[in-house]
């Protein structure tokens, strides 16, 4: 895939963050890693280090949701979509070494940025779910937009903190999807 300079800088910055963390990564590091000059990095990120670090968090965050989107492509039903999405989200956060390292060592830097991203994501996930809800049909009196919003929130909540759920266990996830997540929205769910 064709990679523009911006993308190249972000990928290089991400590599630096993986090695040294968010607070120790500098513009110079990113430029050297990308094989570009400092001036070029500043041209794409005029706000400097702060802007670059914000951008790399956003970029990785969107990549994560991009992979999530690919993972659920072709799901035959709303139930399958949610099951596949939750299982993938649980698994890939656990396996995401850079995320795990940064959230452990620099939560004071990562979490405020992540909160900003998450707040934008509620709307995106909700918009993605709306056609599936129309296709599936909702219970009488249920507002599709409102239901999509609540579903999006609960998906993000489960991703951030699975609580007592094991998202790697297909039996648990199937139950979660058909009860807490969907019972009220689609009404009278038929098992299986």
């Amino acid at each position: 895939m064709e990679e523009g300079p911006r993308e190249r800088i972000l990928a290089a910055t991400y590599a630096c963050v993986a090695r040294w963390g968010l607070s120790k990564t500098t513009i110079e590091d990113a430029a050297r890693e990308a094989g570009l000059s400092r001036a070029t990095v500043y041209r794409y990120f005029p706000g400097g280090r702060e802007e670059l670090i914000d951008a790399v968090v956003s970029w990785q965050y969107l990549q994560f949701f991009g992979r999530l989107y690919e993972e659920v492509q072709g799901a035959a039903s709303l139930e399958e979509l949610l099951e596949r999405g939750l299982a993938f989200a649980g698994r890939s956060l656990l396996e995401h070494e850079v995320f795990q390292k940064v959230v452990e060592t620099e939560p004071e830097i990562l979490l405020p940025k992540l909160t900003v991203e998450t707040n934008k994501t509620v709307g995106l996930i909700a918009a993605f779910l709306v056609p599936y809800l129309y296709q599936h049909g909702v219970a009488p009196g249920v507002d599709v937009q409102g239901a999509a919003d609540v579903l999006a929130r609960m998906i993000l909540s489960l991703m951030a903190a699975p609580g007592r759920w094991d998202l790697q266990d297909p039996v648990q996830v199937a139950s979660l999807v058909r009860t807490e997540l969907l019972a009220g929205i689609v009404g009278d769910p038929t098992p299986g």
Partner: protein, 236 residues
């Protein structure tokens, strides 16, 4: 089961079993007013002493841990106050829908109206969020759902009660962490419609599932509790 730190506090143990003295409460309340006005990093023990109308030496005597000790006591006290306020409201309600509505509305009203928390989330998110997110949110959900579940026990079996308590906690936390323009959980009418559409039908579905012997989750503990996020295993 291992109790979470919050539950040790709720159990009345306090910090190291210390009795809760009026002086301790005065210092905690003084610190709360400082936090609401100027946040954590700008608040000194002198500020706290002045606000509590006592000497700096007294603050140190009551909290040998200094500022960290005071802050820990503030967090513990505020969680305990939140849980007791929610308990009072849930205790007054007498059907399942009302219990959920009362508890969720009270929690949302108390948390969103909390001046110190509001200040910290706005101006010092880097200090406060690491105490609330990911692994800490698992702990928070575990404490909250174990605390709420007994109030649902008149209508639900323990496993169902814990699931529903966790779900209600998630809903409240989500709207507090990420407010929506058109949903206000401090309004009991709005909470009631959420409960009717998104929680009560789930209860029916869980009960139907239970009778067919489907999923039984561990109700005594959170799977991941006290495991560092990075080492959570995949067990299935």
């Amino acid at each position: 089961m291992t109790p979470t730190r919050l539950e040790l506090v709720m159990g009345g143990a306090g910090q190291g079993g210390e009795p809760v003295s009026p002086q301790r409460i005065r210092i905690v309340d003084g610190a709360l007013r400082c936090l609401a006005r100027q946040g954590i990093s700008k608040t000194t023990l002198d500020d706290v002493a002045r606000e509590a109308s006592c000497s700096r030496a007294t603050v140190y005597r009551v909290f040998p841990g200094g500022k960290d000790g005071v802050l820990a006591a503030v967090a513990d006290t505020e969680v305990a106050r939140l849980f007791s306020a929610v308990a009072v409201k849930m205790g007054e309600a007498d059907d399942l829908e009302d219990v959920l509505v009362a508890g969720m509305t009270e929690a949302a009203t108390r948390i969103s109206g909390h001046e110190a928390l509001t200040y910290l989330l706005e101006f010092e998110p880097g200090v406060i969020l690491p105490r609330l997110a990911f692994g800490h949110m698992d702990d928070l959900l575990a404490s909250s759902s174990r605390f709420i579940a007994p109030f649902l026990a008149r209508w639900l079996d323990p496993a169902q009660a814990t699931r529903i308590a966790e779900w209600a906690s998630r809903l409240v936390l989500s709207y507090l962490a990420c407010p929506a323009d058109d949903v206000d959980l401090t309004s009991s009418d709005q909470v009631r419609s959420l409960v009717r559409v998104f929680i009560l039908p789930a209860i029916g579905a869980i009960q139907a599932e239970g009778s067919s012997g489907a999923v039984v989750l561990d109700t005594t503990t959170t799977r991941h509790q006290h495991q560092p996020t990075a080492t959570r295993g995949i067990t299935s």
